[in-house]
């Protein structure tokens, strides 16, 4: 049971955690801060928070749990602001999609005594929608949440972070900060780059209006993630640059390989590459039943 939750960043992730806790009666009061006044007011209107406040510092005062859910590059200034106001017994955790730079920011702005309180986390759940209106209480149910504890963490703080996510139905796993950033570069960040890049490339074609008229269901699914929030994804790509660029290069090598096979009209080679990819993809998901 949380007495007072401080929520910093009142969008899809922050709002959904709050709704999930409230629905289960697991939190007393939720105090919320977000950059824009209108977001704070909307978050209260939607019942995501009980009390909007004017700064992150004010939000954390007296809170026993602090959850930070802003875009990752904004977290450095959040840590700097809340550091002096944190209760020494408070659990601090976050939902950022990149962990290395968030941990670095926390260590820079929090006192070494506070490092032990910060348990970094990342829920592997989301949609391409954002803002307070996108939040819903069941977002995390049966989804993985990766925690990347740091060596300074007090074991009790890690346990509290695990309990927090399990209490809203998530499956909690733990891994290294760097390993997290590597795996997510492959599975999430690179696909987003590929989709944003493809839509961007097509929109540079002179005949783009004509081209997009003939986009079918396959394109709709493929490009859905290019509808994601540009600011959030800008932050992720820049924050995880060191893992993302080698992964992008790996993809570029593969596209060049495919290019050569097609240029040589090597039907067998192209088919093998496609068939191997299909086998991997089909093994990941049960056969689709929907007609898309």
């Amino acid at each position: 049971m949380i007495n007072r939750l401080a929520l910093i960043g009142l969008g899809l992730i922050g709002g959904s955690l709050s709704l999930a806790l409230k629905e289960r009666g697991l939190v007393g009061e939720v105090v919320g801060y977000s950059r824009q006044l209108q977001t704070r007011l909307r978050a209260r209107e939607l019942g995501l928070i009980d009390r909007p406040v004017d700064s992150a510092a004010e939000a954390v005062r007296g809170a026993d749990v602090v959850f930070i859910a802003t875009p990752v590059q904004a977290m450095a200034s959040v840590f700097a602001e809340i550091g002096p106001e944190l209760d020494p017994g408070a659990l601090i955790t976050d939902g950022g999609s990149v962990k290395g730079n968030v941990v670095a920011a926390a260590k820079l702005s929090l006192s070494p005594a506070q490092w032990g309180q910060f348990v970094p986390g990342h829920p592997i759940a989301g949609t391409e929608r954002s803002g307070p209106d996108a939040a819903f209480a069941t977002l995390f149910v049966d989804h993985r949440v990766i925690l990347t504890p740091i060596s300074e963490n007090a074991p009790e703080m890690v346990t509290r972070a695990v309990d927090l996510w399990q209490s809203v139905g998530a499956i909690v796993e733990q891994m290294d900060v760097q390993h997290h950033d590597h795996v997510l570069a492959a599975t999430s960040h690179l696909p987003h780059l590929a989709a944003f890049g493809l839509v961007s490339a097509l929109s540079r074609l002179e005949e783009r209006y004509e081209v997009f008229r003939y986009a079918a269901g396959g394109f709709r699914d493929f490009s859905r993630i290019a509808s994601s929030d540009p600011q959030m994804w800008r932050d992720i790509c820049v924050a995880n640059r060191d893992e993302l660029l080698p992964m992008l290069d790996h993809y570029l090598v593969e596209l060049h390989r495919l290019r050569q096979l097609i240029e040589a009209s090597d039907s067998a080679g192209v088919e093998k590459l496609f068939a191997d990819a299909k086998a991997v993809r089909d093994a990941l998901y049960r056969p689709a039943t929907s007609q898309s």
Copy 2:
């Protein structure tokens, strides 16, 4: 009303056209040929065809409409086989995803007198599933079908092809063969390459098992088209090589542009590219309501 329809290739596209015509009582008998005996038998079992036959030549004998729905690179030999048996009044049309090489194959294997009977077509409808079991009667309803008539076509043949598709609920458009192949390279063939390539690249990582465990909803949607039939897509990529490779190069340039922006930590530049892509994508489709 079609008296006898010859169906060559008994998978998703051919089977769906037949089911749609049958359901509406628009066809007398459907005679079907497909490479494998088991496919022919299954197609009869499912009611896609009334009578399986042992060759494409046998299928077209006495047919007033011939529909070819094999992978595109198989069409050359189909034309060669059926040429001598075609009724001079028969409409010949196809559902191949590439048109340039299909027209070339038709001109090579049909007699010039028969060129006028062949009206090339491409339904912009499909799923990632294939084979006779994937067929369903409503596949083409409210979907576009592009016809790419050739100069030799008798106007009556074009009209009959238009009527055929409209009678099953499709929206028929006409364009140039080459323009078709250019537009579809952008909208359909390149996205498939990008998705197959990405899954393939990830599956080459040593840590692939670990990586794929953390694939979330965005990856599922993005990679759905990498579950498509490898043989069909091999054929499309090789057949449309001349339009596809420049389009792939255009994509590679865009990915390199993104790479540079990220390498320079140019947050504003990355955000602008993402925001422009999102705006284009959002304008194409109504806001998604599903949580994926």
